[in-house]
Assembly symmetry: C2
Homo-oligomer: 251 residues x 2
């Protein structure tokens, strides 16, 4: 099995390092990832400037290609140019620092990389860990990624769907197990904090509080809070079919 | 009616200018838009740097606020800070230069601004015109935006859904009418063009060819090619429920 690994925290982050080592035990791993932090870039693409691709090496045993673009750029460039002669069987994006549950899926560069793999016809998954700490213990998340990747093909995931995996940041013995979940329903209550620069001009820092709105135990955001690893199959068929049918009578 | 207008081509683009003038005939219009081109940014948010908001004026009759961020940033900052004392009834994003149909919806900053409005609980729509020409005739698109906005509340669009409007770049008499559509199914066949800089180092320009895969006449990408204005209700409930139910037996 050939796996393409990417992420949105950058090729030098602890999450991708742990992921690659775990996946190497079951596959040949190729790494094409952003050369720097790309959090919250969503499904952004670089179209107005060209991309650079630079060989990356760490500890003489972690090799990859660093791209000065977004996670979606990395996947597109990997498939169409950098790895065009390799048959990639699976795209795994992560391990992200911070959950990508509920509406955060829409803002997530980690998930968008998996989405891009799916759009290019390759089975794909995203893995995120519930902490922003840079020295977090990645063991449980890495082991989970390896487990789900090793079972991916047996699960017969439809080609329009990806798996979005979220892992609580807990010691292994406190994890309650894997739960198959739906995307939770919640909202960000935004507060921008206004500050003033030394010239007296204002600027705004985003600060938000997340508010779950459904409280359903098999929603991804609720499940991780309860200590479960959440695995959500997500797809991007966006048409609201019911409304479409209703509107047809109104125009 | 109070309308917030934003876009992804920048506050000084012809599309937003035409849109604002058309919507002023039916509403009080507020403009908060990116200070520069933000195409293909998807649903990106600015989280690692603060935002600046600067008053913008054009021809002494077009007023707004320019933000050095993405379309989604503009909507969030408008609601939580810049326009917190105004009750906005509708968010209209556009008029984009270039269609946002089929999978392009995922990459679109224009659509993401409308999505962000919806996530914040406000009825929202996106409008795009099928040309990249900066001096395109915006009349039909502006008139369409005005027409759909004026009927928006009568249509009883669910609160999780936005309207995605795509207008062919044709003289009005050649437009065949409005068609209610679904999101088309297609793919980008990517080709990155490799070039070499004066130092001999490679860089890559994205170039893609879009390929429709369904050929269904009520798909948005097909309808616009046939000369119809496409109105697609889209929603972001991403769970693949069928696969979720199947996987529950496998874990």
């Amino acid at each position: 099995m050939n796996i393409l690994v990417t992420n949105d925290d950058g090729i030098d982050s602890p999450g991708i390092y742990a992921l690659v080592h775990a996946l190497r035990e079951i596959a040949t791993v190729y790494v094409v990832a952003p050369d720097r932090q790309q959090s919250a870039v969503g499904h952004a693409l670089t179209v107005s400037t060209p991309l650079r691709a630079t060989p990356f090496k760490r500890d003489n045993e972690f090799f990859g290609t660093a791209v000065d673009g977004t996670p979606a750029d990395c996947v597109k460039l990997a498939f169409s140019s950098l790895l065009q002669d390799v048959k990639i069987d699976l795209v795994v994006s992560g391990i992200n620092h911070g959950y990508n549950t509920a509406i955060n899926v829409l803002y997530s560069g980690t998930v968008s990389a998996a989405t891009e793999g799916m759009l290019l016809g390759v089975p794909s998954m995203a893995v995120s860990l519930g902490t922003f700490s840079w020295d977090a213990d990645m063991k449980v998340a890495a082991k989970t990624a390896q487990y789900v990747a090793s079972r991916y093909f047996e699960l017969e995931i439809p080609k329009d769907t990806i798996l979005n995996v979220n892992v609580p940041h807990l010691p292994e013995e406190q994890i309650k197990g894997i739960k198959i979940t739906q995307q939770g329903h919640g909202e960000w209550i935004d507060k921008y904090e206004q500050r003033f620069d030394p010239q007296g001009k204002p600027y705004y820092w985003i600060r938000g509080v997340y508010n779950n709105l459904d409280g359903i135990s098999y929603s991804d955001d609720v499940a991780v809070e309860q200590g479960y690893i959440a695995v959500t199959p997500i797809t991007f068929k966006l048409t609201d079919v019911e409304t479409m049918n209703k509107l047809k009578n109104l125009f």
